[in-house]
Amino acid sequence: MERRAVYRNKVLPWLLIGPQLLLVLVFFYWPTSQALYWAFTLEQPWGGGNLWAGLDNFLYIFRDDRYWGTVLRSAFYALAATGLSMLVALTLASFVDRALKGTKLFQSVFIWPYAIAAPAAGVAFRFIFSPEAGLVGAVNDIWPGIWDPATNGMHALAMVIVCHAWLGIGYNFVFFLAALQMIPRSINEAGAMDGARPFRRMLDLQLPLIAPTAFFLLIMNIISSFTDSFGLIDTMTEGGPIGQTEVMVYKIYVDGFKGLDYSGAAAQSIVLMLLVIGLTFVQFKWVERRVHYN
């Protein structure tokens, strides 16, 4: 980012960047360090400051089977929602990229889910999948009791995952389509000249060429499934039935704000932070190594 023409001024840049630095300090660095402090200490119930707890908070959550349940569930949630959403978005983008007549209309509708608030989609999908209502619930009239997210944990989890995947379609579609349109037309034409049919070209030419974008989206989607699921879980299942849709973010919220166990919630936050940082790190490493289009 070196420039020849720059301004030299001792005060002005600080005035410009000061407000943002201040906000970042107060609302990012301070809370993050505070989370570390809480994770390694224990608040005494009768006041009088925090006691050093070392790794006890972490050992406590790691020995808790319920915690491992939420970790595994979150991982499954992340993989399933990411896979589903990316697959649908990629398929749509590949066909929209052929730019046939009238494609523009489809293209603009495919972006819509990006605009929808997770809780709004959650409420809509809760109705669509409600066992009493007349959409998916209508199957219960044919085979009684075959669909019941209110008591069956797998049904409830599947419902939340489908909703999450639907919400991600817009974002993934935009990125996939942009990547596909970046591929030089000549490559596609050369493939056609060599006798490759359109479907073959999709699989063997376009897919490998958009691999960097796909990988970027993969990481972004996984991170977002770990962190953005709160609005859905809270409006659709509240973690139920009997905790079977409780994911990591939701447990942090429940333990921290309902159970007032700040140290436990902070320790869980640190675990989630490390996970997100690790994923971001993997992405940077990979992008550094593999982003060679030409």
Binding site: M1, R3, A5, Y7, N9, K10, P13, L16, I17, V24, V26, F27, F28, W30, A35, W38, F95, R98, L100, F106, V109, F110, I111, W112, A115, I116, A117, P119, A120, A121, V123, A124, F125, F127, S130, E132, A133, G134, A138, W166, V174, F175, A178, A192, R197, P198, F199, M220, T227, F230, G231, D234, T235, V249, I252, F257, Y262, S269, I277, V287
Partner: protein, 305 residues
């Protein structure tokens, strides 16, 4: 299109139509259910054709969830975040790209790292800071003995306190404190040729004049893109407003009201009102995205690599 292949064209349309149905179904269900009466919405299987109760359900949802004041709050927060973010992002990116000062790279990384951890991950401690936003400064003063010194000299006890709970400031500021916009602006400013800055220097323009008269007009497209992303993002916030507003009546946002609209376990299953409420709440960001699509798509993509 490179060659004629009627079969593949038909397949293309088929896939796109299936995709369209997949994407539109939830919207359609919301609209249809919102237009039906209680009897119609409770029918199994439900009719997928709209009925004539739309207006009645919309006004019922509007009244039940107190959406008037909540709408206003949502608009204030979304517009506050959008304006705040664009202003701060443009300013700090300008400083990072066009000024030569020692701590430039450190400042860039301090801001850039915040992209890594979303608000949801550090929600518990951020809540604590919202209860007293000046706490970090109090701790700094205490650690360096400044509060003690002030007290000894003037007899005034230093206790900084700024409670952000139940305030627009508290709803807005933490959402402004991330790097998305800064990064977008930085990427854009990097593409400005050096010659432009040199020319403006030669014409005797100061740094701020260059910023105001050259960079800001040039970045209009980016600004629209960022505005769309920020408006949608902050309108759709759920967890943060939920935590920071205990006084729901005065500071609640519309998205928080969705849960209150869900029919109770043993109550009347009036999903038609719920869907009417959801329709009202999802409409503003949807309209923004639909109208701003051209600009926002470009911004969304250039945000990352």
């Amino acid at each position: 299109m490179i060659e004629r292949s009627p079969f593949f064209d038909a397949l293309t349309y088929a896939v796109m139509i299936i995709g369209l149905i997949l994407v539109v179904i939830p919207f359609w269900v919301v609209i249809v259910a919102a237009s039906q009466s209680l009897q119609e919405v409770s029918r199994v299987p439900i009719s997928l054709l709209p009925s004539d109760q739309l207006w009645a359900n919309l006004s019922e949802a509007w009244a039940r969830a107190d959406l008037g004041p909540k709408m206003l709050n949502s608009f204030i927060v979304a517009i506050g975040v959008t304006i705040g973010k664009i202003t701060l992002a443009a300013m700090s990116a300008f400083a990072i790209v066009f000024f030569n000062f020692k701590a430039r790279m450190i400042c860039f990384w301090l801001i850039f790292i915040t992209l890594m951890l979303p608000l949801e991950v550090r929600i518990v401690p951020t809540y604590a800071i919202a209860a007293n936003a000046l706490l970090p400064f109090q701790v700094i003063l205490d650690t360096f003995g400044i509060s003690w010194l002030v007290q000894a000299v003037s007899g005034i006890q230093v206790s900084l306190n700024w409670n952000l709970l139940n305030s627009y400031t508290g709803l807005i500021l933490p959402l402004v404190a991330t790097a998305t916009g800064t990064f977008l602006y930085r990427q854009f400013f990097m593409t400005i040729p050096d010659e432009l800055a040199e020319a403006s220097k030669m014409d005797g323009a100061s740094a701020m004049e260059f910023f105001r008269d050259v960079l800001i007009p040039l970045s209009r497209t980016n600004m629209l893109a960022l505005a769309t992303i920020m408006f949608v993002g902050s309108w759709n916030q759920y967890l943060w407003p939920l935590l920071i507003t205990t006084d729901r009546a005065n500071f609640g946002t519309v998205v928080m009201q969705l849960k209150a609209l869900i029919p109770a376990q043993n109550g009347t299953p009036d999903w038609n009102v719920t869907m009417a409420g959801a329709l009202i709440i999802m409409l503003p960001p949807l309209l923004v995205v639909a109208f701003m699509q051209r600009w926002f798509v470009r911004g969304l993509i250039s945000r990352d690599k």
